[in-house]
Subunit: 266 residues, 2 copies
C-alpha cells in the first residue's frame, strides 16, 4: 500500500494534468479537427492523439520511473510498480458528432491495484477525482452516494447502459435487451458520462460491457470511495482483457444482479 | 401569414423570455427544490411551476391579447389567433435526478400554424431559436443542417430515441425494440436534448413518440428552418392529441421511414 500522503500528492498532480487537457480539447474543437478510422473501425481524432501525447509527456516529466498505458500509443515501462492508464477521449463517437458527453480518463495502479482515478467532462465543466482512502470528489466537492431509499425504490431510479454494440461485441445482447424490459427507465448514457452520473447518484447504477482497461481506469476507485458498489463480472474465455461491469448505489447494483440473474441473462 | 417583421420581433421577445427562465432554474437548483407526482404519475417540481408562472406572466404582459397553453396550468384565452405553448421543464425525470439534459420550450402558433420556437438547455448554456422564414439559430448562430453525406451514410450517424416507456404508452414498443436492431448506434437522448442534437446535426435523426403538444411546440419550426425534415406520423384513434414524430436530416429521416416500414413496424 502507498502511504496516504503520497496518494494525495499524486491525486493533486493527476487532477492538474487532466484539468490541463480540457484546454487542449477546447482549442482543438475551436480550430476544427479531422478524424480517421482505426483497424478496429473505431474512430480516432486529432484531439485523441494530442491529449494522450500531452498526458504521457506530463507523467514522464513528473514521474520519470512510472509506466504509462494509453489507448492510442500503447505501453511504456510496463514492468514498473506504478502504472498510469489514460484514455484521452472516452466517447469518440460523441466527440466526432458534437454530442457533448465525452471525457478524458486518467488512472493509476500500484502493483496492479487501482489507487486513484480522474475523469474530466470538458463540455460539462466537471472533473471527478478520487483516491483510495482519500475520498471521491466532483469539482473538488466530496461525493457520498446516498443508497436507494425506500421512496419509489430502484424502479424510480434511472439505469444507465452502454451502447448496444458493446453488448453485441461481448456476446451479451440478450442482457441489453432484457434490461429494457426489466426496468422502466433505462437510458444509454454511454462512456464516462454515465460513469460520472453514477458517481453523483443521478443514475441508480450503470451496466457497461466490453470496456478496455483504459475505459475503466478511474471508475472503481471513484465509485467505491463514494460509498458505491463496483462489480466486475467474470469474463468469457478469450475476453479476459475486457471489463463487463455494474456499478452505482449498492441497492441498485444488488437489484440489477438479482433481476438479471432471475431472468437468466447473468 | 404574419408579416416577417412582426415575427422577428416576436422571436426576439420569446428568446428574452426563455433566456430569463434559465436564471430561475439556476436559482432554484442552488436553493434546492421539492417535487411531487401528478395524477398521471409524472413528477413535477417547484422549478416547473416557477418557470411556467414566469413565462405566462411575461406573455400576458407583453402580448395582452394572446393565449397561453402550458403543461402545468392549462389554457388561457384559447380562442385567439395567437397561441403560445410552454413546457417549463421538458425532462423532469432528468431534472429530478440531476441529469443535466432537460430544457424549457416556448412555441407560438398563429391560427393553428406553428410560427416560432425557442428551446433552452440551461445546464449546457444553449438556446435554440427559430421562426418561419427567419431561420434557425443556436446561441444566435444560424444553423443549416448538412444532409447525410455518402461517407458512411446513415449507419455512421447516431440515431436518438425517446424513453421506451413513451413507446409503451403509444402502443409501439415493437418499433422501439426493432429500431435498436436496425441501426448500430441508437441512443436514448430523451426530451429536448435530443431535439437540439437533431437541430445541430449531432444525431442524424430522432424518433420520439407520445409527445404532448408542449413537448413538440418548438421543434418543427426549428428543424424545418434548418433545412431538416419533420414527419408527424398518423395517430391511432384516441391518441389524436399525441405527437409521434421522426425528424432530422432529410436522408436519415427517409432511411428510418423506409427501414421501419420494411420490417413492418411503421
Amino acid at each position: 500500500m502507498l502511504p496516504q500522503d503520497d496518494l494525495q500528492d499524486l491525486l493533486a498532480q493527476a487532477v492538474e494534468i487532466v484539468e490541463a487537457t480540457t484546454q487542449i480539447v477546447a482549442e482543438k474543437l475551436h480550430a476544427g479537427f479531422t478524424y480517421r478510422f482505426k483497424e478496429d473501425k473505431s474512430p480516432v481524432t486529432e484531439i485523441d492523439t494530442a491529449v494522450e501525447t500531452f498526458v504521457r509527456a506530463e507523467v514522464e516529466r513528473r514521474f520519470p520511473g512510472h509506466g504509462v498505458l494509453g489507448e492510442e500509443f500503447g505501453a511504456s515501462q510496463p514492468g514498473g510498480d506504478y502504472q498510469w492508464i489514460v484514455d484521452p477521449v472516452d466517447g469518440t463517437i460523441s466527440l466526432r458528432h458534437g454530442i457533448p458527453l465525452y471525457g478524458t480518463i486518467l488512472g493509476l495502479a500500484y502493483r496492479g491495484e487501482p489507487m486513484l482515478g480522474v475523469i474530466a467532462l470538458p463540455m460539462l465543466n466537471q472533473i471527478a477525482s478520487g483516491a483510495r482512502g482519500v475520498g471521491a470528489f466532483i469539482n473538488g466537492r466530496k461525493v457520498e452516494l446516498a443508497d436507494v431509499n425506500t421512496l419509489g425504490g430502484v424502479p424510480d431510479q434511472v439505469i444507465a447502459v452502454g451502447d448496444r454494440r458493446q453488448f453485441i461485441a461481448a456476446g451479451r445482447v440478450d442482457l441489453f435487451d432484457r434490461l429494457f424490459e426489466l426496468h422502466p427507465v433505462v437510458r444509454t448514457y454511454t462512456d464516462v458520462f454515465g460513469h460520472v452520473l453514477a458517481l453523483q447518484g443521478s443514475v441508480g447504477a450503470m451496466v457497461d460491457f466490453d470496456l478496455k482497461a483504459w475505459d475503466a481506469a478511474a471508475t472503481r476507485v471513484l465509485i467505491e470511495e463514494a460509498g458505491g458498489r463496483y462489480e466486475r463480472l467474470p469474463s468469457a474465455p478469450g475476453r479476459e482483457d475486457r471489463h463487463d461491469v455494474i456499478f452505482g448505489k449498492p441497492g441498485a447494483v444488488a437489484w440489477l444482479l438479482e433481476e438479471l440473474g432471475r431472468v437468466g441473462v447473468l
